[in-house]
């Protein structure tokens, strides 16, 4: 028999709603649905084959292709940079800038990654480039204290880019492996704040620009991810608050829109609550 477009459309509409209920953004669910429709329509299949099952497998295939993007493997890159530094007269610290919407978990994620780096034998310095939000400097400073690492700061109201400059100069002078730069939260729809972030990136010339977003975000994740990626450019993401009983579809939205890998996920508020992104786990949660 030939797969009828009307049958496919009806079944796909149901799958679309399921994807949305699993936290995939509506426009992304719709694109996945269209891709599957184009793949399957007009195909000839066995007389008794189950159309629904064919759609399920095709959707699964689409999701899997999105999720299976190759990770950057940041630890490996940092090790390579360190090896290059040790055999060179110049010291070039590995710089990571963290950016993202307000309250997504940037500061906490930086502390978790600093913890991981320290445990992996690397030296780390933190830069508090959030010179705007109340308590931002004290918050990162408390993490620095708990982790036994140095934090570079300036006063509230100072130019965020100037803190990056100081921190990198410090890292070069003291031969520190990694500089982690914390920035103020911002909605990507704010043109001035995107311009501020562009300046931070221009000054700090980071090896990695890491977008931090939380797994509870809805359809606006498409807009935020797009604007950060196009306006500033990102190399990877961290998806936080995955422990909050989420279905995980935000991972699909994030990777589909940015075409960049998710390096880590946040699964709680403590330093050890940082895991490598595992696409099988997300695939099962979204469509299992």
């Amino acid at each position: 028999k030939e797969l009828s477009e009307s049958d496919l459309t009806r079944i796909l509409f149901e799958f679309e709603l399921n994807l949305i209920a699993a936290d995939v953004a509506a426009s992304v669910a719709s694109e996945i649905s269209k891709a599957v429709l184009n793949k399957l329509k007009g195909q000839t299949v066995g007389r008794f084959s189950d159309t629904r099952k064919l759609v399920l497998n095709a959707v699964r295939e689409e999701l899997s292709q999105i999720l299976a993007i190759r990770p950057l493997d940041i630890l490996k890159k940092i090790q390579e940079q360190r090896n290059a530094n040790l055999s060179s007269s110049q010291w070039k610290p590995f710089v990571i800038v963290f950016l993202g919407p307000n309250g997504s978990g940037k500061t906490t994620t930086i502390a978790k990654i600093a913890n991981l780096l320290k445990k992996s034998g690397f030296s780390v310095v933190l830069a508090c480039s959030d010179t705007f939000r109340a308590g931002a400097i004290e918050q990162l400073e408390e993490h620095a204290k708990r982790l036994g690492i140095r934090m570079i700061k300036r006063e509230y109201g100072a130019d965020p880019a100037s803190v990056c400059f100081d921190a990198i100069a410090h890292a070069v002078a003291k031969k520190i492996d990694v500089v982690l730069i914390d920035t103020a939260g911002r909605l990507a729809t704010d043109v001035d704040l995107i311009a501020e972030m562009q300046k931070i990136v221009r000054v700090s010339k980071p090896d990695i620009r890491c977008l931090v977003v939380d797994a509870l975000m809805g359809n606006d994740l498409v807009v935020q991810a797009e604007l950060f990626n196009n306006g500033v450019g990102i190399d990877c993401s961290v998806l936080t608050k995955v422990d909050a009983d989420v279905k995980g579809g935000a991972a699909i939205t994030l990777i589909h829109v940015t075409k960049k890998p998710i390096e880590f996920i946040g699964v709680g508020q403590k330093y050890e609550d940082l895991k490598k992104f595992e696409h099988e786990w997300f695939l099962e949660k979204i469509i299992g």
């Binding site: 709603l17 699993a22 936290d23 705007f132 109340a134 308590g135 004290e138 809805g218 606006d220 279905k247």
Partner: protein, 290 residues
């Protein structure tokens, strides 16, 4: 303003006879619009179904055209859903009122505590802020700095690990205050210990208002989280939706309001203290309907 948006949706329904297929098409579009605005899928579906039932069973008086009936039913159902009036805070004059802010991690509670304090102060009330967040590093510093910015009394204790003890002491220390706003730690429904702690805070201090602060960018998970918060504290007096200065439509926050059985009372429209205003249903409805 709500009717303008709906009239566009229903311009196809002219004429006396209800074409069920046409009605289903319209309701499907409404459902899609709501879902694209982050409204919970089940909620959007049940709203569409309720409207369909009511329209089909409506007795249409002679001379009234079908599109008017559909409009009226939709308006009634949406208003139930989206709220039709501004609700004020449950604050009793002449007494000391306690407001407790609760919500998910990073939703904007601490910033909102200061915004609400400033808004009330502008209205001639004496306000105090208590930091009862004993988990987040520098939560004390954050609220203290905000309190200083708006010249409002502040109480906190960086050494005390028990939020109940902090609130007890704070209520004693902050004398001659009309409204005390208590900021609590962010939490979600899987963190059972934190949900229990929140329940204990509300049980012990019986606040005049428990306000759930919801991030305007939140998606499908808002409904279940809000439901769990409501079950833990018994009753939620109101919702404050934050970060509406962006492009998020706010359907998640709306779903949370439905789940919590609480009206939206204020919205946050930016990172600055004055970016805060009472909830206005028509504006929000237009936002949700795109």
């Amino acid at each position: 303003a709500i009717f303008q948006g709906l009239r566009k949706l229903f311009s196809k329904l002219r004429g006396r006879y209800i074409d069920e297929k046409e009605l289903d098409n319209i309701l499907k579009n409404l459902q899609r619009t709501l879902i694209e605005s982050d409204v919970n899928v089940n909620l959007a579906t049940s709203l569409a179904e309720r409207i369909r039932e009511k329209v089909l069973e409506a007795k249409i008086p002679t001379g009234v055209s079908i599109d008017t009936i559909v409009m009226r039913v939709l308006y009634e159902e949406l208003v139930k859903f989206l709220g039709e009036k501004r609700y004020s805070l449950n604050i009793q004059p002449g007494k000391r009122n306690v407001i407790v802010l609760i919500g998910l991690q990073g939703s904007g509670k601490t910033t909102t505590a200061a915004k609400l304090a400033f808004w009330l102060k502008r209205r001639g009330l004496n306000v105090g802020l208590i930091c009862a967040d004993t988990y987040r590093p520098a939560a004390y510093d954050q609220l203290k700095q905000l309190a200083e910015q708006i010249s409002v009394k502040f109480y906190g204790d960086q050494k005390e690990r028990d939020p109940i003890k902090i609130i007890e002491k704070g209520l004693k220390e902050l004398r001659n205050i009309d409204v005390i706003i208590v900021d609590t730690a962010g939490r979600h429904k899987e963190e059972k210990g934190l949900m229990k702690e929140m329940q204990e805070i509300v049980d012990k201090f019986k606040p005049n208002e428990v306000l759930l602060v919801i991030d305007g960018l939140i998606g499908q998970r808002a409904y279940d989280q809000a439901k769990a918060f409501k079950e833990a504290v018994g009753e939620i007096g109101g919702i404050i939706v934050t970060k509406l200065d962006g492009s998020a439509r706010g359907g998640g926050a709306l779903s949370a309001a439905v789940a919590a059985g609480a009206p939206i009372k204020f919205i946050g429209t930016g990172e600055h203290i004055e970016e805060f205003e009472p909830y206005d249903p028509p504006t929000f409805v237009c936002r949700i309907l795109g």
